[in-house]
Assembly symmetry: C2
Homo-oligomer: 341 residues x 2
């Protein structure tokens, strides 16, 4: 690097946050949590904490406006923020939408965008309270901020995993990545079959695990929690970094949908890679005290009719994310999506 | 328009908000104020209200990244949001920054951006608690959200102007527009003189009138308040619309800086047009009960060493913004900047 000026490409997203967050996290008042988790946390009223999260979606980076329908974009822009509230065990309350719109955009595009947004508002009770609108010189830009609330005793963080904890997820992995791969090879495809439709829907209409997050955060033994936004490979590293631990993952235990299995076979995708490194599933990834896990998994199944699969274990080997296949270490072919690389 | 699909250009920003805000402002809970003012307002703790505002700045629309220094951009992105908090009489507390960064951006550009941001943080006590970072396919995009607080009894809105109120502003008008005009004709200029430097600084480093807003909101007789973001022509129309009134403006009373007067003479700009339609001054525009105005202006002068000039009067002629020059009606050559037109 000598003689050459560093750029954002050299830093990457993790490096960016490490470099610039330091001076902003010093000397915060008690009860305030700043940069470093899915949401910031502030004192709210009574025994409630206020949660704040924000996500920026850029045309050509996070979505392709010529591919995604405006309904799906409106729905998804809100969903990815609600998922951050879910990861803290919270209930979303208020949303703020900033949108930059290219000249010539048709009003019915905007009507449809808000139709998709409203569908998820109605399901979740969150309300749009404000925002900003402007024109764009390039594509669409959408920034959403959401305020939520959680009981102080139910608040879940990334930083509280302990060695021995069971690692688990609340949904199947890789479906959204499968949908994305289908979109990017779309021209080669014929009509999508039922499996393809399933994966595309999972990509375009992610379901934020709010009920799951609220349920889990109230249960004994649930320690660290995060949502799966960039793929478990990246998101597990965030738990590792914040909790000062290591994690081993059992590749054969990663829960995958029958639709993803079929499409992997059909299109020659590596199933483990898609499941471990694919992003945007927006289910929850959590660690649980081992002695509480069996009872929790039982309760979760009775409530949600889905398995809470044990996909790994927290270790005391700091900063080590290890993948095992039937107890043997393996090196995955691809790491999670890093926004700057 | 028949036979032609409407686009965002036909609607404009005012039309966009009118069309889409309706379904989002229905049936909000008591004590909650949604779309329609400088900030959203929520119940907070004790007798405090929580204020939330967000602004989206797009390269090529709100700033030119090849012209503005990264320090100034960092400072200004925060300043424009703090100005919205000032307009409600509030104190800013917490900030959230989303930034999309083009590949190849140098780290020292980012260091400088945060240096400028931190300068204003330190002056105002606001703290950065979170955000989002991503790459951009086009230019920089910066979205800032700020949370603030205000005592319920001091909260100032756009909707509370009454016929007979004096209209006044807390600073000089048009300086930022003057700075912008200098930037856009830069290639023709020689070295900037002291007047040019003054206007450029007012454009790049707007001073949010937080102390002024907090002082004014605690004084008797102050009714409606807004910050001057798009120029008083646009911002007065917002008061008119929300308060259901009219306003007449005395063009010869608009406060202008000596630097702007000199540059208008030097470059052939229309001084009244620059003052009335130029945006981004980020001072406060307010209406005051006429019987309270003289005492308020006196107190304001003693505290801030600046005149609180009476620039107009609220009338009962609904939706009418009338410009007068020495009591005679005139039609201004240009209206405020509308983001979509």
């Amino acid at each position: 690097m000598s003689g050459k000026k560093l750029t954002i490409n050299d830093l990457g997203e993790f490096g960016f946050i490490a470099r610039f967050s330091r001076c902003f996290t010093r000397n915060l008042p008690g009860g305030v949590l700043g940069i470093g988790d899915d949401c910031a946390v502030l004192p709210w009223k009574g025994d409630l904490k206020l949660l704040v999260t924000t996500d920026l979606l850029v045309d050509g980076v996070h979505f392709l406006s010529e591919k995604i329908s405006p309904q799906d974009l409106g729905y998804k822009a809100l969903a990815v923020n609600l998922s951050d509230i879910a990861a803290m065990g919270g209930r979303p309350r208020w949303a703020f939408l900033s949108i930059a719109i290219p000249p010539g955009t048709r009003i019915d595009w905007l009507d449809d965008f808000f139709r998709g947004w409203r569908q998820l508002e109605k399901k979740t009770g969150v309300r749009l309270l404000g925002g900003d609108t402007t024109r764009s010189k390039a594509g669409f830009v959408v920034n959403v901020a959401v305020l939520g609330e959680v009981r102080a005793k139910n608040l879940k963080l990334r930083s509280t995993a302990r060695p021995g904890d069971v690692v688990t997820v609340t949904g199947t992995l890789g479906d959204s990545e499968g949908g994305l791969r289908l979109i990017l090879r779309e021209s080669e495809n014929g009509r999508p079959g039922p499996e393809e439709k399933f994966l595309l829907r999972r990509h375009y209409r992610p379901h934020p695990h709010l009920e799951e997050g609220q349920f889990l955060s109230s249960q004994p033994g649930v320690r660290a929690m995060i949502d799966v936004s960039d793929g478990i490979d990246s998101d597990l590293r965030r738990i590792i970094e914040r909790s000062g631990c290591g994690i081993e993952v059992y590749l054969e235990k990663l829960p995958v949908s029958p639709a993803l299995e079929k499409c992997c076979a059909k299109y020659g995708w590596n199933l483990e890679e898609v499941a471990a490194a694919g992003g945007e599933d927006y289910c929850l990834l959590l660690t649980v005290a081992p002695e509480k896990f069996p009872e929790l998994a039982g309760k979760f199944y009775r409530r949600f009719k889905r398995q809470l699969a044990a996909i790994g274990r927290v270790t005391d080997r700091k900063n080590q994310l290890i993948y095992l296949r039937h107890q043997k270490p393996v090196t995955p072919g691809k790491t999670g999506f890093d926004h700057f690389k």
